[in-house]
């Protein structure tokens, strides 16, 4: 396998930042003491794989993908959504909608919150919109909601996280 992008599992010609992320991830994945690849390959194969990963990344850096890394353009001060003045949704019935409304009231954008919580904007949005089927496993979800609620200064973040997890219980679920 000689195409360096293919070695790193990337589409040809992605930006350098993405290539570096893939490189770091694979290096960690195949590290000698990695539990996640334990016994998947022998120690020679492991070394060869690590070498191939190293080579591939060097090649990508050397051939220099000249295309500048493109960030989506957006004017400063433009907010994601219109302002909302209505009453806050019920934090027990709709903890996600409650958080979303609260965030918009404080003038924060998803991006800002993502930066502070280190949770991706799309995950935050799924939480806000209560897209139950797209949420991370409860063990993560609890932490995410806690973090989000803390960042916004919600009075009782723990209670809110509990409310959220209850959305997953069948009595409140689909039907």
């Amino acid at each position: 396998m000689n195409d360096p992008y293919e070695v790193l599992g990337l589409a040809r010609g992605v930006g350098l930042m993405e290539a570096e992320r893939a490189y770091q991830r694979l290096r960690e994945l195949y590290a000698e003491d990695s539990l996640a690849t334990y016994a998947l390959l022998g120690s020679d194969e492991r070394r060869e794989r690590l070498n191939a990963i190293e080579q591939a990344f060097r090649e990508i850096v050397a051939t220099g993908n000249q295309r500048p890394i493109a960030f989506p353009e957006r004017p400063e001060n433009m907010s994601d959504e219109p302002e909302e003045d209505g009453p806050l949704p019920d934090p027990v019935q709709h903890p996600g909608l409650y958080l979303g409304r609260l965030r918009r009231r404080t003038g924060l954008q998803l991006r800002d919150l993502a930066e502070r919580t280190k949770i991706s904007p799309s995950k935050l949005e799924n939480i806000e919109q209560e897209r139950l089927a797209q949420l991370p496993p409860p063990v993560y979800l609890r932490g995410f909601v806690l973090e989000y609620a803390r960042c916004l200064g919600v009075p009782d973040p723990r209670q809110l996280a509990e409310n959220y997890l209850r959305l997953l219980a069948p009595a409140h679920g689909e039907q």
Partner: protein, 312 residues
Amino acid sequence: MESAVLKRRPSRVWAVGGGKGGVGKSAISSNLGVALARRGYRTVLVDADLGGANLHTMVGVPAPSRSLTELFTRAAGNLSEVIVPTGIPNLDLISGAHALLDMANPKHLQKQKIIRQLFTLDADIVLLDLSAGTSFTTIDFFLAAHEPIVVVIPTPTSIENAYHFLKAAFYRRLKGAIVRSGAGPLVDVALEQKLARGIRSPRELIRHITELDAVAGAAIAGEMTRLRPKLIVNQIRRQEELTLGEQMADACRDFFGVEMNFLGGIHNDDRVVYSIQLKRPALEAYPHSPFAMAIEGLALRLLAQHKEGDNE
């Protein structure tokens, strides 16, 4: 009111396996069954652990008098004759109870017949609890399922067995795909000489086959990408172990070229053990336990994919 909509569709088969014994396959499949049944899906739990059947106990049913044994000894002719109710609405059971010792590897034809019947059971979801190990029977059930699910725990032995299991499944599917593709002898040679040719992973092997025979290669690669196992990491004790699932999915993509979808983690929770002592599903005995919550989350995610699967 989803079950009404589902009624006329053929059942979907989910199989829970993973190679290693004692990782929680039965605890997870039985409680998933309860979660699905409560949501209105008519679910049949099948104890496909022909060596050490115990799923009946996990759902609180004494060893049923009808089980897969009766199929193999021909006392019953059809899978639907050995279904027993569990007392939980929408949840039925096919027990593997008191299976004979030599039944862990039934005759090929018998097995094929059972697999066929599993897919035509009158149910929304058929949930198979597979046995540990990588016997042909277990791999066949796993590969035949619409949703093949692997359970691991964060220990080297479990991960070793899981990869052993995945490799066995991968190569069994690959051999079938090669035969069906009508590929020439070149491909057989590639398979045999893979080490000599410096092919180190299944992903590289498929690529190599495509170089040798583009048409057959495309057919084989297409069949292999349809193998999409799902992963559950059970008995998590430390925060760091939460990354294991995504990492194993990465490894699967990189090494096998197979998309394995990490469904979620389940923390170690003593209430699983207590509920088995009570001979009741944890979802009933401890509905607010972390384990029960985790199962509910898994059920939701699997159902979301189940609905997508209907449009295939």
